[in-house]
Structure formats: structure tokens, C-alpha cells
């Protein structure tokens, strides 16, 4: 089943049972974080299998830590490869950030220094990941609150990495909005400067403004209107790709989630209908 132009949902255990036992939430595909499922049996394995049976699957890794100074963890990559095969994963992505350093996992997305040597280092690792997995990967523009010793702008860094690694991009429109606000740049200009033809799929999410100059990318709130607007403006510049709604905290009733999925699908249909026909 094709996922282009479809709106999907990031799978959470919090809503798994309701989701599978009703047809309130009707995504066009489902995204899994492999790390939450690899090596898990029992009750949750059954749920996972039920989802895989019913929906096309995309995967998004949490622990790749591609930006890390540490080398790739080959055992981890083996597990990922197996999982992607097991769930018949159609597209695979991870963040352009680091979550492990000095041989310790931190389980959060930390900002890569936007330097020339870091760009080369990351690009080389991405290449090795693509070779090993034998599939293209999408690199997500991460939200960040501070970056150390920057030698270049974020957009230049992303472009450099994608070009050198010859990989795809996962465009998180909310992250662009959050970063543009936090670092005071123009979101539309930023998006215009991205390699939009390389976008594998899109992430959409909500965020939380914590003070007058800082937004935290929480994935715990509904998407706000300006992010919907930026999304509509962005996809008009692109060919149809899958669009994913991320909601990781404060998970609302399924009907409310479906409301957001429908709103996104409405925009997608409006903008991409001519392309699809």
C-alpha cells in the first residue's frame, strides 16, 4: 500500500489497545520507534504484530545517535536491520543529533556542534549505516536549544551532511518552527534552503512555549495553527510524501488525535490532489 500523501501516527503503547479495538483513529500508516520494540515479547509483541498486519509501517530510531563522537554500534545496527525486515518497514529515519557520548546513553536528543569536522564525521557514519542497512535513510532536522562552537548555520550544516552522505531527509516542520523561534531565523527561508526533493517524509507535532524566547519541542500538545500554516506552505513546494503526526505525551482521546490526523489529511488533499491525479 502506498504511503505517499497519507497521514500516519506515531505508535504509542498508551493508546495501543484502544487503537486496535476501535476504528476511531484511522491513520494511513504507523510509525514505530524500533528501540521500543526490539527484543520485546509477550503482550506488546502481539499488539505490534496486530498493527503490522493492518498498516504500512515506517520506522524512526531514537538511539542511533548518529551525531555522536562515539563510533557506530554494530550490534545495535544488526538489531535495527532485523526489526526493519520483520515489520516490513517502508521508510526509515533518525535524528541529526546525538544521544550517546563517552560510551553512555543519555536517551535524549542533544545538539551536534555545527562544525565542518562534525558534518564530515556524521556524513561518513550515515553512509556506513545506509550501506549496512542496504536502504536509504532520512535524517531529521532536530529541535535544539543551544549549539556549541557553531562554524556555520544549521541549514548549511544539514545541507552539507545530506549531500556528503547522499541520504534523504525527514523534514520536521514543527522543529523548523521551534528552531526559527528559538534562534530567531525565518522559517520559510530555512525551508527554501533545504533540499526538498530529498524529503522522504514529514513530521508534524505540538510544542510548548516555556518563556518569552524559548519553545520546547514536547510532542505533548496539539499542533498550533502557525505550524499548520507553515506545513501547508511547505508541502506546496514538494511532491507527495507521507506525513506523520507525533504525539508522545499528554496523549488525548483517540477522537482528538483523529481530529489532527483529519486536519492534516485535509491540507494534504487540498495541496497535493492535482499532483496525485
Amino acid at each position: 500500500m502506498s504511503v505517499e500523501g497519507k497521514v500516519g501516527i506515531g505508535f504509542r503503547r498508551d493508546f495501543a489497545t484502544n487503537f486496535l479495538n476501535s476504528d476511531v483513529l484511522k491513520p494511513g500508516f504507523v510509525e514505530f520507534a524500533p528501540e521500543n520494540w526490539i527484543g520485546m515479547g509477550g503482550y506488546w509483541r502481539k499488539k505490534l504484530e496486530a498493527v503490522v498486519e493492518k498498516y504500512p509501517i515506517l520506522c524512526h530510531s531514537l538511539s542511533m545517535s548518529i551525531g555522536s563522537p562515539d563510533d557506530l554500534d554494530m550490534n545495535y545496527l544488526k538489531d535495527i536491520k532485523q526489526f526493519l525486515d520483520d515489520v516490513n518497514c517502508q521508510m526509515y529515519s533518525f535524528h541529526l543529533s546525538f544521544a550517546k557520548c563517552d560510551n553512555a546513553h543519555l536517551y535524549e536528543l542533544l545538539p551536534i556542534p555545527f562544525t565542518e569536522d562534525a558534518a564530515n564525521h556524521v556524513a561518513e557514519k550515515i553512509k556506513r549505516v545506509q550501506d549496512f542497512l542496504n536502504r536509504p535513510v532520512g535524517i531529521e532536522n532536530s529541535s535544539y536549544y543551544a549549539t556549541a562552537i557553531p562554524e556555520m548555520e544549521e541549514v548549511e550544516f544539514i545541507n552539507k551532511v545530506i549531500e556528503k552522505a547522499d541520504c534523504k531527509m525527514l523534514l520536521d516542520v514543527n522543529n523548523v518552527y521551534v528552531n526559527a523561534f528559538n534562534h530567531k531565523y525565518d522559517a520559510k527561508k530555512f525551508i527554501n534552503d533545504l533540499p526538498l526533493e530529498k524529503v522522504l517524509y514529514i513530521h508534524m507535532a505540538g510544542h510548548l512555549q516555556v518563556n518569552e524566547d524559548t519553545i520546547i519541542d514536547t510532542h505533548g500538545e496539539p499542533i498550533i495553527d502557525p505550524v499548520f500554516d507553515l506545513f501547508e506552505w511547505t508541502i506546496a513546494k514538494m511532491k507527495p510524501v507521507p506525513v506523520l503526526l507525533e504525539r508522545d505525551f499528554n496523549i488525548p482521546k483517540l477522537a482528538e488525535l483523529q481530529g489532527e490526523v483529519s486536519q492534516l489529511q485535509g491540507i494534504v488533499n487540498k495541496v497535493w490532489q492535482t499532483v496525485e491525479k
Binding site: G41, G42, L106, H121
Partner: protein, 251 residues
């Protein structure tokens, strides 16, 4: 690594700051210092919340200062190796044992309590096992019994699985056996407190011995007397296991 030293130091400084909350690690870095506490909070909360969810009884048992201290020490000093965050709490358990917090906090049962809480997660999430072929009919005493493979058998020093922690005293120290398994019906986790005889039965059934031989061996080893009452109790224990689908059948 082809990273410049300054770049590596930026990475490492950010990571160290997030793990310790000590701004000395980032003070020389060119970055928005005022935003860094968000990272420290986000990073630390992930580990703290994961541990709180994994160990709810331990969390309640500790006072705030103890909980903050042990989690802070762990996060600062232990290099988490597990890429799956839901398995990370096992490393916390091992850390607490190794660093002897049970002694420090005068909670001799602490290690057992953490293990008890951990085993529930482990049994609930452990990978599916292949179930062996069995015969439905057989003789409890003379045929080899087959156990369902999705279980753990633990030996504990303190009765953390049957008593409230505040009621456990030094006098409770002894040998306790905890059997935990995942039900076939809905894959939920169940616990059973076992006597030493029944724990021995489980262990020896797994080894492929018949109940008759197991019991004989037990009473020889313990130099005690096998009687009708024990025989009846053992039989009803095994019948209970069959009913619970812990014993699947016969070889």
C-alpha cells in the same frame, strides 16, 4: 575519530553537563548558557521518570533526598549501555547492588525489592519462547513434566514479595523462592511464593527429572522424612500448575 579536539570537547562538555548538572563542563563553550538547564532537566527527567515507573515500590520507600541522591549518582557515574530505555532500569538495579545502597540506607531488603520489581518487567517483556511439544495425558509422578518456558525462578533473602516493606525486619532474613511467569491466556505476569521443596521441584522438572525422583532426591538431600501429607501437598501443587498452564503437560 576524525573530530577536532575542540569539537569533541563540545560534545563531551554538553554530555557531562547533562549528566551532572555542573556548569563547569560547559562554561568555556561558546553556546547559549541560559538554555542549557533545559537540556539538563529534559535529560535527567527521562532517566528519573523511567526509573520511577520501573520501581514504584522503591520510589515510595525512599524519601525524596534518598531518591534524588541515588538516581543522581547513578546518572552521573554509570555509563548506561542499553540502547533500549525500557531495559535500562536493570542497569540501575545492578548499580545499586554494586554500590551497596542497601547498607548505606540501612535497608537490607533493598536489593531483593529492586530485583522483585525488575523481574515483573523482565517477565512481562521478555522475548517469546518456543513452546515444546507435549502430551496432554500422563502420570504426575512417573512421567516427565513439561514447564511453560516463559518464567523466572528467584531466590530472595527477604520476603519483599509477600510483606509490606515497612513490616520487614532483620528477623525475616531467610530463604524465599519467588516464581514469576507470563500467563498463556493474556500474557500478564503472575507471582507465586514457593517453599524450598516446590522451588526444587520447578528446578528439577526443568532438568527433565520425574516428580518421583525429584521428591526422593529432595528428602535424601535434606535428610528429612517424606510423608503422606507432603505427598498430597506436592500433588496438589503440580495439579495447580497444570491448571494455571505453568505445567503444559508431559513429555
Amino acid at each position: 575519530m576524525k573530530l577536532k579536539d575542540t569539537t569533541y570537547k563540545a560534545y563531551s562538555g554538553i554530555a557531562k553537563y547533562c549528566r551532572t548538572g555542573d556548569s563547569k563542563h560547559i562554561k568555556d563553550l561558546e553556546l547559549r548558557q541560559d538554555r542549557m538547564p533545559h537540556y539538563r532537566r529534559l535529560v535527567f527527567n527521562i532517566t528519573k521518570n523511567t526509573l520511577k515507573q520501573a520501581y514504584p515500590i522503591t520510589f515510595k520507600l525512599f524519601n525524596n533526598a534518598q531518591w534524588e541522591e541515588v538516581v543522581d549518582d547513578y546518572f552521573k557515574n554509570h555509563n548506561a549501555q542499553e540502547y533500549r530505555i525500557w531495559l535500562m532500569p536493570k542497569e540501575f538495579y545492578e548499580y545499586v547492588v554494586e554500590k551497596k545502597y542497601a547498607k548505606k540506607y540501612n535497608m537490607p531488603f533493598l536489593n531483593d525489592l529492586l530485583l522483585f520489581e525488575w523481574i515483573e518487567i523482565e517477565v512481562h517483556t521478555m522475548e517469546d519462547e518456543i513452546f515444546p511439544k507435549i502430551k496432554k495425558e500422563g502420570d504426575i509422578w512417573n512421567d516427565i513434566l513439561i514447564l511453560m518456558p516463559e518464567y523466572r525462578l528467584l531466590q530472595l533473602e527477604y520476603p519483599v514479595h509477600i510483606k509490606q516493606t515497612k513490616e520487614i525486619t532483620a528477623a525475616d532474613k531467610g530463604n524465599y523462592f519467588l516464581f514469576s511467569y507470563r500467563t498463556l491466556e493474556n500474557k500478564s505476569v503472575k507471582f507465586m511464593d514457593l517453599s524450598i521443596l516446590f522451588a526444587f521441584c520447578i528446578e528439577q522438572i526443568e532438568e527433565g527429572n520425574t516428580l518421583k525422583d525429584i521428591v526422593k532426591q529432595f528428602f535424601t538431600l535434606t535428610n528429612s522424612e517424606f510423608n503422606n501429607e507432603i505427598k498430597e501437598k506436592t500433588e496438589s501443587f503440580i495439579k495447580g500448575l497444570i491448571q494455571k498452564e505453568v505445567v503444559l503437560g508431559f513429555k
